[in-house]
C-alpha cells in the first residue's frame, strides 16, 4: 500500500503542519441545513449538519491540534464555489488575533470566514451564472493552495498533512487539476485525509487518500463529528503506525471522459495523448489524431460485427 511510503521521512519529532480545507459552499450547506430540519422533526438519525454546527466541531479540532504539540502549525483554507482563500494560520505570529487566546482565535476565524463567504458570493455574481443545485466547490484550488503552502522544500521542519472536510459533490471539470495535486502530494509524501460529509462518496477524495496514504472517512453520524475528527484525523503521522484507522471501503477508480465529463467505467483511450472518451470518435479532440482504422480492441470489433449481423436478418 502507499501508506508505507509516508513514514519513510525520518523525523525525530512529531511536529505537524496541518492544512485544513473547509468546504464553505453555501449551496451545499443550505440544502444540508434544510434536510437537517426535516430529519429532526421525523426523529430520523441525523446524517446532515448545518454549517454553524459544523464550525462547533471544527474549531475545537483546530484548538486541540495546537494543544497536542505547541510547535504544531494549523492553517485553515476555505473552499468556496468561486474562489478559495486562507482563513487562519496559527504560525502567523498572532496575525492581529492577539496572542492566541482561544476566544480570540474563534472570533477571528468566524470573522474571516464571513468575509470570505461574502466575497465568494460577490465573485459569483455575473450575468451568465446559472446556479444549479449540485454546485461543486473548488477543491482543486484549495488543494493547490494547501500544497503550495506545505511544499517540503520550504518547510523541512514539520510533516505536512492535509485534511479535507468536504461536503459538496465532486466537480468533474476539475478532474485533471485535482489529479495533478494528488500526484504532487504523493511525491512530497504529504498524506491527504478526507472526511466527507455529503450524501455521496467523493471519488476524488477516495483516490486522493488512497494514493497519498491518508485516511478516508465518511462518518455515519454527523452529530458526533468531533469524535471522528479528534480520534482519526488529529493523530500525527508517527502515531498512525500504531493505530487501527478506518480501512478504505472500496475506491472508485473510474475516470471521467473528456467529451461529456461523465464518469465512466469503460471507454476509449487515445493512444497518442491518453485522453478518455465515452464513445468512439473519428478524431481526438485533444491532440487531433485521426482514428480512421477503428478500435484496436479485438473484442470491440467482434461486438460490432455481432451487432451488424443481428441487424441484417
Amino acid at each position: 500500500m502507499n501508506a508505507a511510503s509516508a513514514p519513510s521521512k525520518l523525523y525525530s519529532d512529531d511536529v505537524s503542519l496541518i492544512v485544513v480545507l473547509l468546504d464553505a459552499n453555501p449551496f451545499f450547506w443550505a440544502s444540508s441545513a434544510a434536510a437537517a430540519g426535516d430529519s429532526a422533526s421525523s426523529h430520523h438519525p441525523t446524517t446532515t449538519l448545518p454549517f454553524s454546527k459544523l464550525l462547533n466541531h471544527v474549531i475545537p479540532l483546530l484548538n486541540s491540534l495546537l494543544l497536542l504539540n505547541q510547535l504544531n502549525q494549523v492553517v485553515l483554507v476555505a473552499t468556496g464555489v468561486n474562489s478559495c482563500g486562507y482563513i487562519y494560520d496559527s504560525g502567523d505570529g498572532g496575525g492581529g488575533s492577539g496572542c492566541g487566546s482561544v476566544p480570540a482565535i474563534c472570533s477571528e476565524i468566524l470573522r474571516r470566514l464571513e468575509e470570505f463567504v461574502v466575497k465568494d458570493r460577490l465573485q459569483g455574481k455575473g450575468p451568465d451564472k446559472v446556479v444549479a443545485t449540485g454546485v461543486s466547490s473548488l477543491l482543486s484550488g484549495s488543494l493547490s493552495l494547501a500544497l503550495g503552502f506545505s511544499d517540503p522544500e520550504l518547510d523541512i521542519h514539520s510533516l505536512g498533512q492535509i485534511l479535507c472536510l468536504q461536503g459538496s459533490p465532486d466537480g468533474p471539470e476539475q478532474y485533471v487539476a485535482v489529479m495533478n495535486a494528488i500526484f504532487s502530494a504523493q511525491r512530497s509524501m504529504i498524506p491527504i485525509d478526507s472526511c466527507v460529509m455529503g450524501v455521496q462518496h467523493s471519488a476524488f477524495l477516495q483516490q486522493a487518500s488512497y494514493i497519498t496514504g491518508g485516511v478516508y472517512l465518511k462518518p455515519q453520524q454527523l452529530d458526533g463529528l468531533f469524535q471522528y475528527l479528534s480520534a482519526v484525523f488529529a493523530t500525527d503521522l508517527q502515531s498512525r503506525n500504531f493505530l487501527q484507522l478506518p480501512k478504505p471501503a472500496g475506491v472508485d477508480f473510474r475516470a471521467s471522459c473528456f467529451c461529456h465529463k461523465k464518469t465512466i467505467d469503460m471507454g476509449y483511450v487515445c493512444s497518442v495523448c491518453l485522453s478518455i472518451f465515452c464513445k468512439h470518435h473519428k478524431k481526438c479532440s485533444t491532440c487531433g489524431s485521426d482514428f480512421s482504422q477503428g478500435p484496436t480492441d479485438a473484442n470491440a470489433s467482434t461486438d460490432r460485427k455481432r451487432k451488424t449481423s443481428e441487424v441484417q436478418p
Binding site: 468561486n82 474562489s83 465573485q123 473548488l138 482543486s140 484550488g141 493547490s144 493552495l145 503550495g148 503552502f149 511544499d151 522544500e153 520550504l154 471539470e173 485533471v176 487539476a177 489529479m179 495533478n180 495535486a181 494528488i182 500526484f183 504532487s184 511525491r187 512530497s188 483516490q207 488512497y210 494514493i211 480501512k247 478504505p248 471501503a249 472500496g250 477508480f253 473510474r254 475516470a255 471521467s256 467505467d265 469503460m266 476509449y268 483511450v269 487515445c270 493512444s271 497518442v272 495523448c273 491518453l274 485522453s275 472518451f277 468512439h280 470518435h281 481526438c284 485533444t286 491532440c287 487531433g288 489524431s289 482514428f291 482504422q293 478500435p295 484496436t296 480492441d297 479485438a298 473484442n299
Partner: protein, 434 residues
C-alpha cells in the same frame, strides 16, 4: 544471438568527432587504457585532488572583484526558466502530440571504459545511480510505458530484463549486474533491440536510449546497415556519451530522429538523462494513432473474499473488478483474463495529463517596477504566503502568472511547474477554470 566476436570493423573514434569540452588528463587521448592509467600514476596525489575537484569553479567574482560562492538559487532558477521557456516554445510550435505510450530499451555500456574513474567512484556506478533515478522518473511521467534493460560487455549485447512496467524489478536487475569488461559493440546492441522492438503494438513508440562510456565500437558487421534497419523499424535512438563526441553515435541519432548529447560531469549527465523522461514529441508517421478500449475497474473493499482470475486463488480484500465481465484481478494495469479488456486505473492515465495541459510559464516581474505600483499589488507569494519583500522594503525577484496575475516566489514557481502542474491562482477562481 548477437554473440559474434568476429571483429571486422573497429571504429576508433577518438579522433573522428569533435572533442567534448570535458576535463581531461593531459595526453592519453589517442592512447589506450593502460597508458592512461600510467599517466594517472604520474600525477601526484595532491595534484589529482585539484585536477579532479576543480574547487575554484564554485567561486565567482562580483562587481567589486571580490570572490564569493556562486549564488546557486538564482542560477538554478535562471537555468530552470530557460528550460521551461524552451519547452513551451517547442510545444507551441507543433500541436500537442506526444508519444505517451513508450517502449524504451535502456542500454548501459559495461565495457572496459565504464571502469574509468573520472566519474566518482567510477563511470559504471555513476551511470547506474542516475539510471535508477531515471527509471523512477520515467514511470512517474509515462505511466503506461514499458522499459527494458540491455547491457553491452565483452563485445556482446545481453538483455538484462524483459520489457516491462515495474520500476523496482528493473532497478534490482541493473544493480545486481554491475561488472564491466571487454569492448562495447553498438551494432550488437542495436540488432538485439531491433529484434525485440519489432514485436510491440503499432501504437507504441519504440525508443532506445544508450548510455555510452566507450570511445569505440567493436562490431561484427556493417553498422550502417543496422542503423538503416532501425530507421525503417521506426526506432528512435538517442545516445548520451560519457567520454567524447563520437561520429557514429551522432550519425545514429541523426538518422533515427533521436538526440545525441555528451555529458560534462556527473550532474550534467543526470540532467541530460532526465531530459529523456518526459515524453518526446510524437513523430506522426512513427506510431499509428488509435483508440484503445479500456476499462476502469473499482477497487474492492478490504476484507471482501473473492477468487482472482490471474492466480486462480482466493484473496481477501484488495483486487479490482473488471467492469465488463466482473472478474477479479489483483493488480493494475493488466489485461482481463476473461474478456481481454485492458484494465487501467484512471490515476495511471491522469499522471500524464500535465504534459497535455501544462501551466503557462510565469512572467518575471522585474524588481525595477516603480515602488508605488508594486506596493499596490500583493506583497506575499500566493503559493506559500511568504513575504516577497526580501530585506527592508525591496521586493525580492519574483514571478507572476499571466492569467490570474497572482505573484509567486521563485521556489513556488519551480514547485508549480515541476511538481504541482496547477496554478493555485487560476485554480482558485472559477471563471478561469471553466
Amino acid at each position: 544471438m548477437s554473440g559474434s566476436v568476429e571483429v571486422q570493423r573497429r571504429f576508433d573514434l577518438a579522433g573522428m568527432g569533435e572533442e567534448a569540452t570535458r576535463r581531461r588528463r593531459r595526453g592519453g587521448e589517442e592512447d589506450d587504457e593502460e597508458e592512461e592509467d600510467e599517466d594517472e600514476r604520474g600525477m601526484e596525489a595532491w595534484e589529482r585532488a585539484y585536477a579532479d575537484e576543480r574547487s575554484w569553479e564554485d567561486l565567482q567574482e562580483d562587481e567589486s572583484g571580490l570572490l564569493r560562492p556562486i549564488d546557486t538559487k538564482t542560477l538554478v532558477h535562471a537555468q530552470y526558466r530557460r528550460r521551461l521557456l524552451q519547452k513551451s516554445a517547442a510545444s507551441a510550435a507543433s500541436r500537442i502530440q506526444k508519444g505517451l505510450i513508450r517502449y524504451l530499451y535502456l542500454v548501459v555500456d559495461l565495457s572496459r571504459a565504464a571502469s574509468e574513474t573520472d566519474y566518482r567512484p567510477s563511470r559504471m556506478v555513476a551511470v547506474a545511480k542516475c539510471a535508477e533515478a531515471f527509471i523512477r522518473e520515467f514511470f512517474d511521467q509515462n505511466p503506461l510505458s514499458h522499459i527494458g534493460l540491455v547491457t553491452i560487455k565483452d563485445g556482446v549485447a545481453h538483455r538484462l530484463t524483459d520489457i516491462g512496467g515495474s520500476p523496482e524489478s528493473q532497478i534490482k536487475a541493473l544493480m545486481g549486474k554491475l561488472e564491466c569488461s571487454g569492448d562495447a559493440s553498438l551494432q550488437n546492441a542495436l540488432e538485439l533491440i531491433h529484434g525485440y522492438l519489432s514485436q510491440i503494438p503499432s501504437y507504441g513508440h519504440r525508443e532506445v536510449l544508450i548510455l555510452y562510456s566507450a570511445r569505440n565500437t567493436c562490431d561484427p558487421g556493417d553498422i550502417m546497415e543496422t542503423i538503416k534497419n532501425c530507421k525503417n523499424a521506426k526506432i528512435r535512438c538517442s545516445v548520451i556519451g560519457l567520454s567524447a563526441e563520437i561520429f557514429i553515435c551522432k550519425h545514429l541519432c541523426e538518422e533515427t530522429g533521436g538526440s545525441y548529447t555528451v555529458a560534462l560531469d556527473e550532474s550534467h549527465f543526470k540532467e541530460l538523462l532526465l531530459e529523456h523522461a518526459p515524453p518526446p514529441p510524437a513523430i506522426a508517421e512513427y506510431a499509428a494513432a488509435n483508440l484503445i478500449k479500456m476499462g476502469f475497474p473499482q477497487r474492492g473493499a478490504e476484507g471482501v473474499i473473492a477468487i482472482c482470475s490471474c492466480h486462480k486463488d482466493v484473496k481477501i480484500g484488495g483486487g479490482y473488478t473488471c467492469p465488463r465481465c466482473k472478474a477479479r484481478v489483483c493488480e493494475l494495469p493488466a489485461e482481463c483474463r476473461i474478456c481481454g479488456l485492458t484494465l487501467v486505473s484512471s490515476p495511471h492515465l491522469a499522471r500524464s495529463y500535465h504534459h497535455l495541459f501544462p501551466v503557462t510559464p510565469f512572467n518575471e516581474v522585474s524588481s525595477v517596477v516603480p515602488f508605488k505600483l508594486s506596493q499596490k499589488l500583493a506583497q506575499t507569494c500566493y503559493g506559500c504566503q511568504q513575504s516577497l519583500l526580501s530585506h527592508g522594503s525591496k521586493p525580492a525577484p519574483h514571478v507572476s502568472c499571466p492569467k490570474c496575475n497572482q505573484r509567486f516566489c521563485l521556489d513556488c514557481d519551480i514547485y508549480i511547474h515541476e511538481s504541482l502542474h496547477n496554478c493555485p491562482g487560476c485554480e482558485s477562481h472559477r471563471s478561469s477554470t471553466t
